[in-house]
């Protein structure tokens, strides 16, 4: 099976966001980047599919040299090959999806995987955009996936429950936490990843549909009052919630 996993290189969850000099994106100074957590579930699912069906897992990322660190991590987990679609410009979701879709089409991917969203700009768009551009089905926010004889049965998370979705290959799946337990790269995997190829290609050009005109910080919440230090404070807390905040 030809399996493609799209991964993004994002600031880690401990990052304190500072607005950069352009006034519309994050200041990357002092920020640690990592493989987008949801993409890690996608990589694991790709590796599981390869174990079941054979074939090849190609991990693809759009960006610059820095993304190689994330691609190496995916290679260390067991992906066969990495592709860096080089582009340093700031793209919107449409622009990112256009480049990824172009690669998937050229490669002839049968199973396409990505995280349900990137934890940086939180658009939750790229998976669905790529699938529609390729004219293939998509199932998003998946917590369980079963592929048998080209038939796909997936469980996706919805508010307060799950939907069982049926589809067929080729399909695009976006991964939600809970889909699997991503493996840790083994020492052998890390050593091998250093020798595995990272193919570099220029990203297909694309127009931008959404313009970011600025970025601000949310108004900071300030510490309120300490109501008490033991169970006796419960009375006052409930009174404040009822009479002052009026939320209960």
């Amino acid at each position: 099976m030809k399996i493609v996993v799209f991964v993004n290189h994002v600031p880690d969850t401990e990052t304190k966001v500072k607005v950069g000099a352009d006034g519309k994106s994050i200041d990357p100074a002092g920020v640690n980047f990592m493989l987008n957590p949801y993409d890690e579930f996608a990589v694991e699912e790709g590796l599981k599919a390869k174990q079941k069906f054979g074939g090849e897992v190609v991990v693809v990322s759009l960006g610059g040299e820095a993304n190689k660190e994330t691609l190496r991590k995916a290679l260390a987990m067991g992906c066969d090959k990495a592709v860096l679609l080089k582009d340093l410009s700031v793209r919107d979701s449409f622009g990112i999806a256009a480049a990824l879709a172009e690669y998937a089409k050229e490669y002839g991917a049968e199973l396409l995987l990505a995280g349900k969203q990137s934890i940086d700009y939180d658009n939750s768009q790229v998976g669905g955009l790529v699938a529609e551009m390729l004219g293939i089905p998509s199932i998003t926010v998946v917590v369980k996936l079963d592929i048998t004889d080209g038939n796909v049965v997936a469980e996706r998370e919805i508010e307060g429950g799950h939907e069982i979705v049926h589809s067929k290959l080729p399909v695009l799946i976006t991964a939600q936490k809970g889909l699997n337990e991503p493996r840790y790269p083994s020492l052998k995997g890390i050593m091998e990843a250093k020798r595995k190829p990272i193919e570099e290609k220029p990203a297909a050009p694309a127009e931008s549909h959404v313009e970011t005109t600025g970025m601000t910080k949310p108004s900071a919440k300030s510490a309120g009052k300490i109501v008490g230090t033991d169970a006796a404070a419960a009375v006052e807390l409930v009174r404040l919630l009822h009479e002052e905040a009026k939320v209960i």
Binding site: T13, I26, S93, I119, S124, E132, S138, A223, L237
Partner: protein, 324 residues
């Protein structure tokens, strides 16, 4: 000018977000001198459709078909895109719900439209519509404008206010869309809903627990407090990763970003990624025995004390208030 507002329903009931989306479309439409055309998709949904008039729909279009009784990404995308074309709408509003987030990108490609997703504010200035949306789970907010002829906005549930219906009813028109077998390339066959479980993304009150609860069985007191408030149960990443709680309860940067009117954090220290996901809540209560825990920096009311004593006392006090 026309704005199409997709009003999500499940099992013949509008989701709260359906009213929020229609009302937000009305607010924008008033400034743009536009009409709000609400769209309802499902089976036997015609009789419920007219009530959207009470939230500002000028008319309601209904695609009533047994084949779309359950959700299908591909079929819904086709229907919504077709209706937008038929109505020559320039603006489309959808909820950023599980369904809306799934279908919106596919519509965007079909209509060659830009999509601003998960918006928490939409405004019109000098005839131009712009939006704000949280990024980095709420650590930042970006201001965006959509440059394409057709513009799509998905709105975060529980943020826009629907208010009360004004009681009026909108005219309902039945529409049919040509659906072929291939339009159901991915389709829901079954929906499993945990009986009565409230989802943190939709809840008005959330009671969350963290490591400070020491063991999974101690979430019982969180559940009891939540029950007395009609609240959803939330969890920190630490306890989800430890397998104490299901991941759909996780609040924070790798879980759900929430903005309820009341968020009660019990035994949660307040890691950066957790604070990002909940600090836009209207009121925050923190119960933690560590007075230096970062959660207190965002809490409106704090109790520095032992959760095992404080939480049952709060539950008992609430029951007293409710006269139980």
């Amino acid at each position: 000018m026309n704005i199409v507002a997709f009003a999500e329903q499940r099992n013949g009931q509008f989701k709260k977000t359906a009213f929020e989306v229609v009302k937000a479309a009305r607010t924008a439409a008033d400034q743009l001198k536009a009409e709000v055309i609400a769209l309802v998709i499902g089976n036997n949904v015609q009789s419920m459709a007219g009530q959207l008039g009470g939230y500002g729909a000028s008319k309601v279009l209904v695609v009533d078909d047994p084949r779309v009784a359950l959700y299908s990404t591909t079929a819904f995308a086709k229907i919504i895109a077709d209706i937008v074309r038929q109505e020559s709408a320039e603006i489309v509003f959808l909820p950023a719900s599980a369904m809306g987030k799934d279908v919106a990108p596919r519509i965007a490609v079909k209509l060659k439209a830009g999509l601003a997703s998960d918006c928490t504010a939409v405004s019109v200035e000098n005839g131009t519509i712009t939006a704000r949306r949280p990024v980095f789970a709420g650590k930042g907010i970006v201001h965006v404008s959509v440059k394409t002829g057709t513009k799509i906005f998905s709105l975060r549930p529980n943020v826009f206010t629907a208010g009360e219906s004004n009681g009026s009813s909108a005219p309902v028109e039945k529409r049919s869309v040509d659906l072929l077998e291939g339009d159901f390339a991915c389709a829901v066959k079954e929906t499993k809903v945990a009986g009565g479980k409230k989802d943190v993304s939709e809840a008005d009150i959330i009671v969350s627990g963290g490591r400070g609860l020491k063991a999974p069985e101690n979430f019982k007191m969180i559940e009891e407090l939540a029950e007395s408030l009609g609240a959803a149960v939330g969890a920190s990443r630490a306890v989800v990763d430890a397998g104490w709680r299901p991941h759909d309860e996780q609040v924070g940067q790798t879980g759900k970003t929430v903005s309820p009117s009341l968020y009660i954090a019990v035994g949660i220290s307040g890691a950066v990624q957790h604070l990002a996901g909940m600090s836009s809540s209207k009121y925050i209560v923190a119960i933690n025995k560590d007075k230096d825990a970062p959660i207190f920096t965002v809490a409106d009311y704090g109790i520095v004390g032992d959760a095992f004593e404080v939480v049952p006392a709060v539950t008992a006090e609430l029951k007293k208030l409710q006269g139980k």
